[in-house]
């Protein structure tokens, strides 16, 4: 087939219009969410004292951080799904959750605490946190990668890592309602390690499947 012939067939196919990347990504995440919810309710469940915990600003801060991570990762990944886009000018969105955490840590430092710093940092649930966040992330990561495959990211590994941040942010939101460690020091340590793991998996798979 010579190039003029190819162009003729492409023009004939012009009527077929693909869905926007954001729409496909949203559908994929909605399809995967029940799997992560199933893992959550089967293995973890909401902590029993959730009603009193909600009055603790550090409990609420966990959700602000994880949701900010998920939201900024969604925004950045949609931006990066355009071939001419780069992280420049957009990457700072990813600093929002980190900024919230830093603010939380300084806030906690200024208050009188019953437990010493290292105890708060190590907490009681570090292992559960390190396992649960990546585990609940996996279905969401698969969905995010599926959705972003619809786009055309110029740097597939970067886009994959951000898909990992998105999945981890959503999974950590679920996990936060189970975990009784509310100290921002705990969140900054263990949530971050779990999230970094998912981002690394995302980068690895993304570098293969997000090429177009």
């Amino acid at each position: 087939m010579d190039t003029d012939q190819l162009i003729r067939t492409l023009a004939a196919d012009n009527a077929q219009r693909a869905q926007p990347v954001g729409f496909v990504l949203m559908l994929a995440l909605l399809a995967a969410a029940p799997i992560s919810l199933l893992i959550f309710f089967a293995e973890l469940g909401v902590r029993p004292d959730v009603m009193t915990a909600m009055r603790n600003p550090f409990f609420d801060l966990k959700f602000a951080v994880t949701l900010a991570l998920a939201a900024s990762a969604i925004a950045v990944s949609l931006h990066l799904s355009r071939p001419e886009a780069s992280l420049r000018g957009f990457g700072w969105w990813l600093l929002v959750p980190a900024g919230l955490l830093v603010a939380g840590i300084s806030g906690e430092m200024m208050m009188p605490q019953r437990a010493p710093m290292m105890t708060r940092l190590v907490g009681n649930n570090s292992r559960a946190c390190l396992i649960s966040i990546p585990l609940m992330s996996l279905p969401l990561l698969a969905a995010a990668l599926f959705g972003l495959r619809h786009g055309a990211p110029t740097r597939p590994a970067v886009a994959g890592a951000i898909a990992g941040l998105m999945a981890a942010g959503l999974a950590a939101t679920l996990y936060a309602s189970h975990c009784t460690d509310d100290s921002p020091l705990f969140v900054a340590t263990w949530y971050t390690i779990g999230t970094a793991l998912v981002a690394a998996i995302g980068a690895l798979i993304g570098s293969k499947v997000l090429r177009y």
């Binding site: 190819l6 492409l10 023009a11 004939a12 196919d13 055309a152 110029t154 177009y212």
Partner: protein, 208 residues
């Protein structure tokens, strides 16, 4: 030949090279604005504008592909496969173009990505500058001389119906309507077969 094919000169000589830079820059900008206009019409359903756009960008892509191959020390007769690969990617990813953004940066990003990929597959690591595309001057570009083989090879692996529909439109330049009549299919079925055929050609090129 369309008015938009002003990039091709019969003499093959680049008349713009002797002009001052600002004239060349203006011509390149004018060309890119025209592409953006055509792509907007294409997205709103104008297939003729889409056809004109693809015809207009092809010589620029071809010149850049040749330059990339030459710099990598590869024979330039493989340029047409790269051009077709880029055109298929442009087609399958056109929903990622923002209608309010200029078209050229989007196009060149896709083209650069595909060219790097193609050179890498041939075992060459080459830095491809985006300016290779942007700076291709009107007049520097040539008609197709090399032939492409990759798509033709993959075409034979498609299901019979998809292949027949693609060939009818590509080779016999039949319309969707004529193709539907020829194979006693509905026009909708022809459109679906065409779309699936192109999608699986795109997927096969990505895997290879």
């Amino acid at each position: 030949m369309y008015v938009h094919d002003f990039v091709i000169y019969r003499s093959g000589r680049n008349e713009l090279k002797d002009r001052p830079n600002y004239v060349v820059g203006a011509r390149v900008r004018e060309r890119e604005d025209e592409w953006t206009g055509l792509m907007r019409s294409a997205i709103s359903g104008d297939s003729t504008a889409y056809h004109r756009l693809l015809k207009a960008i092809t010589p620029v892509l071809r010149a850049a592909a040749r330059r990339g191959l030459a710099r990598a020390g590869q024979p330039i007769d493989q340029s047409e496969d790269i051009v077709q690969d880029i055109l298929l990617a442009v087609h399958s990813k056109r929903h990622t173009w923002d209608v309010n953004a200029p078209f050229a940066p989007w196009l060149f990003a896709i083209a650069r990505n595909k060219l790097i990929d193609a050179l890498r597959r041939r075992g060459k690591r080459v830095f491809v500058n985006i300016d290779d595309f942007a700076e291709t001057l009107p007049g520097e570009t040539q008609e197709q001389t090399a032939s492409a083989s990759e798509i033709a090879a993959h075409l034979n692996t498609l299901p019979a119906r998809q292949r027949q529909v693609l060939q009818s439109i590509a080779v016999d330049s039949a319309s969707i309507k004529d193709t539907a009549a020829k194979f006693s299919m509905s026009e909708g079925a022809v459109r679906v077969a065409l779309h699936r055929g192109l999608a699986s050609l795109t997927a096969k090129l990505r895997e290879s």
